[in-house]
Amino acid sequence: MDFVSIKKRLLKFSRSAWTPFAAIPIALGIGAIVLLIAGYNPLQAYAAMWQGAFKDRTAITEVLIKATPLIFIGAGLAVAFRCSIWNIGAEGQFYAGAVAATAVGIYLGDLPRFLLVPLVLIAGASSGALWGMLAAFLKNRFGANEVVTTIMLNYIAIFITGWLVTGPMIETAGLFAQTAKISQNAWLWRFLPPTRLHTGFILAVVVALVLYIIIFKTSLGYTIRAVGINPEAARYAGINVKRKVLLAMAISGGAAGLGGAVEVAAISYRLYQLISPGYGFDGIAVSLLVNNNPLGVIFSGILFGALRSGAEVMQMNAKVPSVLVFLIQGLVVLSVVAFGVYSYVSKEKEE
């Protein structure tokens, strides 16, 4: 590959990756108007938000920690969406992963670390993958629309988790609706003490990278994209469409499940009823924001992590309700969309 084409590619990539960032000011601007109307000082609010996300090394690592589950989920969803499967079920798949990881982390707790950590992660990934494949199976076998089935499976996964932590898996003391802590041998390494930054974040980045390569550089990814664009043509080309649907959902669910496992093994160390505050739904936006590009997901995941992280400090110090962050997230998505269309139009004109 010659230098010019490398440069062109880099330019193209950075353009697509930075679009969300370019759109942030618009979203913040609209947010500021809402803040003003409600009687807050937007500058103060945003200053607090910035502080919360970036004031020092710890704050930044916390952003990365928050971004971790979003990157896992978003990168997986990018694969499903590329295959034109509208997986709204990452939330449930995340739960499935967290549950399996916890079970392994507790019940196989005596295993040595070098065995247990991989086992926990594999358990999470495969459990999430299975939960995702269930929807794919229903789609393939019965033609059941995945938007519906994945929504239903979300609820079911959450209820099963609720049952497990109030029933069979409740901690031995039996006091609270939570499981016992997983064995220390299952904990992921926090490599930058005293911060909590853990290997799970690295893993998320690696997963995003690998999924990027799979989607855009391998023949497997070629088939997944082909199925997503034109299943008829893909079938004609000898691609087994149903198998790809199953595979894409397995990858998507697997990544979400891995996210759940990492959340347990690196952060919470045990399972609660509500282990996810809606990561699965945020993940949809995280992926679509960067046009379902798994590499871009790293950026958009961090963006959302920073917004969330900052919002809490904004509430602490500027007394602005943190729910506002949902509004800002939504506005970011809309302005990215508008921005994307704008830059597309201007690009067309250039040519």
Partner: protein, 517 residues
Amino acid sequence: MEDSMPKNNDPQTILRMEEIHKSFPGGVFANRGVNLEVRQGEIHCLLGENGAGKTVLMSVLYGLYKPDAGSIYYKNEKFDARNPKDAIQNRIGMVHQHFMLVETLSVAENIILGQYKPWKVLNNLDPVIKKIQQMSKDYGLNVDPTSLVQDLSVGEQQRVEILKALYHGADLLILDEPTAVLTPQESEHLLDFLRQLADKGLTIVFITHKLEEVMQISDRVTILRDGKTIATVNTKETNPPELAKMMVGRDVLMDLSKKEKQPGKIIFSVKNLNVKDERGLPAVKNFSFEVYEREVVGIAGVSGNGQSELALALAGLMNSEFDSIILNEISITKRDLTRLNQLGMAHIPEDRQKMGLILPFSVSENFIAETFNDRPFSKYGFLQFKTIKNYSQSLVKKFSIRVGDVDEEIAHLSGGNQQKVVVARELDRRPKFLLVNQPTRGIDIGATEFVRQQIIAERDGGAAILLISTDLEEIFALSDRILVMFEGQVMGEVSPNPDMIEQVGLLMAGKTIESVL
């Protein structure tokens, strides 16, 4: 020749389009100063290669596109349709190249769509249905207004389109390649019908690639090339070679030189193939045939008689039952069907956009649609972009496909060039057995000529070829033997002797071979 165009306010002139310019974002100049003059009551053919700008010109007239420049006079007044509604209200009807029918609605619903204010209650469609039935009788169109469009054959849908235009009230009727999807009989019928309409005073603009049709039906012809008017001529004063030359800008070889058939061994044979269509009804019944080395077997038939199902079944894309299928002395089982590709079969599908191509993919990604998993295009599961690009560039050159860069999205190519990509990809695999379905449907003569030459070259190179086409001219031009298909069955075999055309037509209509010969 442009000088010969009648000047202003000729009472005979119903439509005049002057210096029409229309471009699209991305630098496509579809119309670059087109002039067209149509006289009251004539049948006026518009002729031109793919992408010459015919459809765009008519779309401008019909209010679908706004021209960049130019003026239109219709019935001696400046005319400027902002949308199709304007056109319809001014009694312009258009039958579009791709059917504009909503399949899930009934015929009557399609016909009245857009005719009323939104709040109009359509509780009782009986009067509409009656009127359609009456019209359908008057025009001899035989259309049932209550059936759903999705249950109609292509020919019937075509009639619905025409009826729709007439129902809306048309003084000027535009038909964009209406015969591209019709059988010879249907085409014949349509042409007769249009003649009758014209005799009643209707003005018709007729777009086609088929020169015989032009000669047969039109009063005058306007030829477009590259978005410009080349000429308008009286049909009586011209001939097909001249028309072809004006279209393409060079002489066109109209007949194919084909070497004598040199029969070899059997390459492909099928015994008692049965296929059910999507609704579960038998579409192909006990179909048996064999194709020899260096031979083209043509399957003629009216569309909808099981040809699509036959092709899909053989390509392993549709479930089927059979006693035996043998390719190159290998007996194929049901499971193997999907692997036929690897065993030496190539398939040019009937609908390139639906099956042959993945539209948002690039040209080069489309070239590897079937071989993406094989070396050298893929190593250890990784695509080898450099190899793929080189390979694509060589194919583009070899098959003279007009495209700037092989990384360009294939959607940006013209229909003819898209078809060339499919043909190039399939032929480059040097297939033992080539299954070709409607290879030249809707592409211009230049491209048609090229594709047909390639098929013949492949035959001469030793391949066995099964050609399915509803275009009898094509069947006769290419085939060494002809099988006629009717309602899923073989009605008989005939040789491609031009004297046999009538018999083939009768077989296609369901007559038995005994009664025909």
